[in-house]
């Protein structure tokens, strides 16, 4: 593995007084896709929120591009080149598509926004003046991904991007993610679908009860069905 773009070392965190993360470590090298896997409630989303700074890490450290960002204000992190697509999409339903897209960028003319969307998200381009809440779940997810890309991130973090999406759009969203990765943007992906995650990821980290319990290439995980069953409760797809 090359020098990590994002490095999380032994972080711990609590929500209220409940400890949720105990010891999570992971690394995302530049231009690679890392899958973060685990059963529901093991702390995957909380780990991402720690990386984004919306939950404070109470221990350990987080560094991005070599700089320690553990205590950096959350709103300063996107400016470093970290794009985030939260679980549940996180779009603003009462804002138009254009307003949603412009939230994370400054001083960019409308024409530039439309240009950026022209090739990759033609459906959004047709709906720039529409309220985001009136779009389908799949379109909202594309909007959330497009919005994160507007900031020209070096790392894109996606939290269950295909959750609750119509099956016919799931493959389209996965294709987007593969294209994004192919364009050189590093991706940290939380994905419930093990088969899809193993297909796209260069490296996987599996969490168990607030800890990172496995870290390695997908082939190593595939080679150990017992481990997969213990950590994920499913068989090898």
């Amino acid at each position: 593995m090359s020098t990590p773009l994002l490095e999380v070392r032994g972080i711990s965190a609590s929500i209220g007084r409940v400890p949720v993360l105990l010891d999570v470590s992971l690394a995302v090298p530049g231009r690679s896709v890392v899958g973060l896997l685990g059963r529901n409630g093991v702390g995957k989303t909380t780990s991402l929120r720690c990386v984004m700074g919306t939950i404070a890490a109470t221990g350990g450290s987080i560094s991005f591009a070599g700089a320690d960002i553990t205590r950096l204000d959350a709103h300063r992190r996107p400016g470093l080149g970290i794009g985030y697509v939260p679980q549940g999409r996180g779009i603003f339903p009462l804002l138009t598509v254009r307003e949603n897209l412009r939230l994370g960028v400054r001083g960019v003319p409308d024409a530039t926004i439309e240009e950026a969307l022209l090739n990759r998200f033609p459906r959004l381009r047709e709906r720039l003046s529409q309220k985001a809440g009136t779009m389908s779940g799949g379109e909202q997810q594309m909007l959330a991904i497009a919005r994160a890309l507007m900031t020209k991130p070096r790392l894109l973090i996606l939290d269950e991007p295909t959750e609750g999406i119509m099956p016919r759009l799931v493959s389209e969203i996965r294709r987007f993610i593969a294209e994004i990765a192919a364009s050189g943007i590093a991706v940290l992906l939380v994905e419930q679908n093990l088969k899809a995650a193993l297909a796209i990821a260069d490296h996987v980290v599996v969490m168990e009860r607030g800890r990172s319990a496995f870290s390695g290439p997908p082939a190593s995980l595939r080679a150990d069905p017992d481990l997969v069953h213990r950590l994920l409760g499913v068989g090898i797809p």
Binding site: P93, L94, L95, R102, L103, G104, R147
Partner: protein, 286 residues
């Protein structure tokens, strides 16, 4: 009939001023979840400072510019000192703003005095309306100024980057943060704008109300009723509800009496709480 028209117009003018103040209350609640019990006292400070500014400079225009600017400053200082330290425990913000309200009242009583005063309207005389109704010119000017301020606020919220940030933070502050929006700065400026609106309302209302350290206590319930009827955090709804309340009270006062008018308002609020708990204008959110 003419009396009813005049009272309805009074209701409209007063309603637009209330709308301005209630809008401040609603924008603060919508974004910070803070029930600002001192909001009526911000209005009172506006009326008092308008009186002082006119007394010192002789110019109402100066008061109209300087007092709302002071309101922005007062709001910013309040957010930093009385709100932000206790924002994680919402009930403490009620205690904190209640304490601030008492400090403002006693501060004004100690310096300005307890005697109610009147501020002469900067525009005197009457105008003849269609139907031959003679109506106080300043009230029309006040209604126009309040309506203009409301429109300016909505344009600011819809057309500016900061306005979009305010709408985004109101919906989901965590996601807003992950997009690089400086949420704490948005909160500070929102509280500041809310206070500025209350003081602006105070300046506009000063010539048609009594300048008194207790004025905030009287106006706060009407503002809360407007916010509840309009829908919590629903800004256009709040403005519309304030006008509806004031016009209704104005007309009912003419037909029955002021006490009955207040009872009608309370019944309206109760009916809304029972039948449309999200507000009379739910769905018209900006």
């Amino acid at each position: 009939m003419q009396d009813i028209v005049i009272l309805a117009l009074n209701g409209l003018a007063w309603g637009l001023i209330i709308a301005l103040i209630a809008l401040g209350l609603s924008v603060i609640f919508g974004l910070l979840d803070v029930i600002n019990v001192a909001h009526g006292d911000f209005f009172m400070v506006g009326t008092v400072l308008a009186w002082v500014a006119v007394d010192v400079t002789g110019s109402f225009a100066i008061a109209l510019v300087l007092v709302p600017l002071f309101g922005l400053l007062l709001g910013a200082v309040t957010e930093r000192i009385a709100i932000r330290p206790v924002l994680s425990t919402i009930v403490l913000t009620v205690v904190s703003t209640h304490g601030l309200g008492l400090m403002l009242q006693e501060g004004v009583r100690a310096t300005f005095g307890a005697t109610p005063r009147r501020l002469l309207a900067p525009v005197g005389g009457t105008v003849t309306l269609p139907g031959g109704v003679l109506y106080d010119t300043y009230r029309l000017v006040a209604a126009g100024a309040a309506a203009l301020a409301l429109l300016a606020f909505f344009a600011f919220q819809q057309r500016t980057r900061f306005g979009t940030w305010m709408r985004a933070v109101r919906h989901d502050r965590e996601t807003a943060m992950t997009l690089g929006i400086p949420v704490q700065r948005v909160q500070l400026m929102t509280f500041s704008i809310g206070a500025g609106l209350a003081l602006l309302g105070g300046v506009i209302a000063a010539p048609i109300t009594t300048v008194d350290f207790r004025a905030g206590i009287e106006i706060l319930p009407t503002c809360f009723m407007a916010v509840i009827i309009g829908g919590l955090g629903n800004l256009p709804g709040t403005a519309a509800a304030a006008v509806l309340l004031a016009v209704t009270e104005g007309v009912v006062s003419a037909v029955l009496d002021p006490s009955a008018a207040r009872i009608v308002s309370l019944c309206l609020m109760s009916a809304v709480l029972f039948l449309r708990p999200h507000g009379l204008f739910a769905g018209a959110r900006a």
